[in-house]
Amino acid sequence: MTDTASKPGQTEVWITGIGLATSLGEGLEANWAALQEKRINVDEKGFAPYIVHPLMPVSFDAQIPKKGDQRQMEAWQRIGTYAAGLALDSAGIKGNKDILSKIDMVVAAGGGERDLNVDTGVLTAEAKGANAPGFLNERLMSDLRPTLFLAQLSNLLAGNIAIVHGLGGTSRTFMGEEVAGADAARIALARIASGESDIALVGGSHNGERKDLMVLYEFGDFNLKDKFAPVWARKDHAGFALGSAGAFLVLESKAHAQARGAKPFARLSSVVADLARRKQPGDMAVTLEKLWAKLPKREGKGAIITGATGAEPATSEERGFLKGHADFPVRSTGTMFGHTMETQFPLGIALAALSISRGALFPPNDSTGTEIEMQGAPTQIVVVGAGHWRGEGMALVEAVS
């Protein structure tokens, strides 16, 4: 198992910036208000029978002023570059050249946003008999936009963030669906805790309004169809509703934050991750228990924010794990935001930090009893991220003492 907990002698790591652009809105106020009102934004018609949580429209100009930059990106990159800008604003370092020139970036990304017209054009022409050996080559040479490739490359989310916001430290892009988001936070935390880095931008973005992605998940029958239900109420109607979201965090050593007078939302104390084999029923729950045991001791008022997808059998296994920790009120980001894949874990950390800083966990939104009310202010929130197919991650977010 790999873990990065702050060890004695290691520096404390604070969350000093949060940027959110989601299906519920842009910025911390809009997202918090929607959570309080239990407002969910789902589209059951646009991709019917599939359900998505579409991005609440934002004015990209506000964070990506050059139209030329916007044109060079596809939606997932625009959402991420936008949310990254919000996080830098939130941390008070937007435009701060001294800090941005050294900030380290760890991004969790998918990629491959396709031009559906080109794909469909090739396939229908072939269905009508086009079979010359070079047919595909010629069509791709003439039909693909030259810059589309750059909008597809996984590491070009980080590249665009660097260009638009002027970041000049290190830049690493992790792939691998849900757990990539946990690993991004894990590595960034480890680097700051050990003194390799002072400050980092961590997060991801996802465009859930993509039929090419739906095809990929439909191969495994993972898409939620026909009717929306909270994640915990999908047992007999399993699946995830893809969501669009960008979630970025500024992580910073306590000393670096204090030196510039930055206030923390919360402390990121530990991130752990593993790869359960998931060959037998229960394998995943065993791994979740192991990760739980690896987190620093929880003595405060605790809660759990999970990115449970709604896909089976993963969600049922996770529910079993949660039952063993029933003293921790649970909240599901999948119900409220949809499944944002690589972004779900950073989103969970963001909401944990926000809940701690606002002195209240957001209300439950669940008819099955898995989510219960919480009285008082949480001081420790465990973020859980178990992938729909593989990969398990956990983080502990705590109030700064």
């Binding site: 396939l123 070079g134 000049g168 892009t173």
Partner: protein, 425 residues
């Protein structure tokens, strides 16, 4: 003889196992023999029709069979084979029980054309929309394609096969990915999280759409005939890189752990550095500052000075811009010393293995240290008069090599450098 810690007090990170595969062949012995003989692995593509393509050659790995074929499947198989080679050499852990994490550099994964076409045929009518494709994708018939085309699929397969510990990381920093995988391993060992790390980089993505994508960005050489002469780093008549496939695996260990178990030390990762260029998506900042900063950061990380570097394994893609920029920045860092530093580009022979290149070239650099012989840069018949590197042109050169700098630069402003040495400093 040497301290287990470096000048900055961190554990020294050594290499105890290496595995490699390129268009030249499988394994260190075969690759090295062909590399120093100046052989090219570039050939006309036979895997798929090349009609209508501007570039018709590549450094494909055709001697590894994958069924059903996919670029991701080939990447996975190559990664598995090079890891086996590296683990055999290192003799570490037990079978399927590697005592550390996996860091995998891998090309971004997506559903590929053979599968997309299969879906198109399955619709069963001549006129259809994307929704028709979506509607027939479910039901379990194509479940294997979900599993294959998850971004994490290759890393998960390697983690299960070799029993690496924890959550395996799949990463992409474009053409610097291989170097980044090594850097992540080095950092994990230096932090004391682990005594060993498995760093693997693989790329099997010579397919029609990948060729078209790079062609549309005018990045590929079109000197198709003869293919062996297409990749011309540092030459006046260079016109782009040649896409290639390959993989490299390195077993990294702390010096202390390696010596404690009596492992043979193949070399040292003395320093790594990385610096983002925020100038442009595909071009370097004209002043070269990010690349210069990257090399300087790497020297500082190694606790070394420019006079201690006696060979540079260049990124050397043979694109007009890269080679010029690489010379300008390298000369800014090394000054007059540069005249005395032999420089070579392995890409002249194996092509550009993209996601794998950083690891492939780190391994070639370590073999250079072992054999005290620098592989040539072939096709170096018409030197670019503005690139005043001491290029090891066309013929391998025997030389005293104690420290190699290996550079990787990629789209998205990714710059990464490594310094490899024979012995701990």
């Amino acid at each position: 003889m040497t301290a287990p810690r470096d000048k900055l007090g961190r554990p020294v990170v050594v290499v105890t196992g290496m595995g490699i595969m390129t268009s030249l062949g499988a394994g260190k012995a075969d690759n090295w023999a062909k590399l120093v003989a100046g052989e090219s692995g570039i050939r006309t593509i036979t895997r798929f029709p090349v009609d209508g393509l501007k570039t018709t050659m590549a450094g494909t790995v055709d001697f590894v069979s994958v069924d059903p074929f996919s670029s991701t499947g080939l990447s996975e198989r190559m990664a598995e084979l090079v890891t086996q080679e590296a683990l055999e050499q290192a003799g570490i852990g037990a079978k399927a029980d590697f005592p550390g994490p996996l860091f995998l550099a891998v090309a971004p994964v997506e559903v590929e054309w053979p599968q997309r076409r299969e879906l198109g045929r399955a619709v069963g009518k001549p006129d259809f929309t994307y929704d028709d494709l979506l509607r027939i994708s479910g039901g379990g018939k194509y479940a294997a394609y979900h599993h294959r085309f998850m971004f994490g699929s290759v890393a998960a397969h390697l983690a299960e096969t070799f029993g690496t510990k924890g959550s395996p990381i799949s990463l992409s920093t474009a053409c610097a990915s291989g170097a980044t995988s090594i850097q992540l391993g080095v950092e994990a060992i230096r932090r004391g999280e682990t005594d060993a790390a498995l760093c693997v980089a693989t790329d099997g993505t010579v397919n029609p759409e990948a060729m078209v994508r790079f062609s549309l960005l005018s990045a590929l050489s079109t000197q198709n005939d003869p293919p062996q002469a297409a990749s011309r780093p540092f030459s006046k008549n260079r016109d782009g890189f040649v896409m290639a496939e390959g993989a490299g695996a390195l077993v990294l260990e702390s010096y202390e752990a390696a010596t404690a178990r009596g492992a043979k030390i193949l070399g040292v990762i003395a320093g790594c550095g990385e610096l983002t260029d925020s100038f442009h998506r595909t071009r370097s900042s004209p002043d070269g500052k990010p690349i210069i900063g990257c090399m300087n950061k790497t020297l500082a990380d190694a606790g070394m000075t420019t006079d201690q570097i006696d060979h540079i394994n260049a990124h050397g893609t043979a694109t007009p811009e890269n080679d010029k920029m690489e010379y300008n920045t390298t000369s800014a860092v090394f000054g007059e010393l540069l005249q005395k530093i032999p420089v070579t580009s392995n890409k002249s022979m194996v092509g550009h293995t993209i996601s794998a290149a950083g690891a492939v070239e780190a391994i070639f650099s370590l073999l250079t240290l072992e054999h005290q012989r620098i592989p040539p840069t072939i096709n170096y018949d018409t030197p670019d008069p503005t690139i005043l590197f001491d290029v090891v042109g066309n013929k391998a050169r025997d030389a005293r090599v104690t420290a190699v700098m290996s550079n990787s630069f990629g789209f998205g402003g990714q710059n990464a450098s490594l310094i490899l040495t024979r012995e701990p400093a």
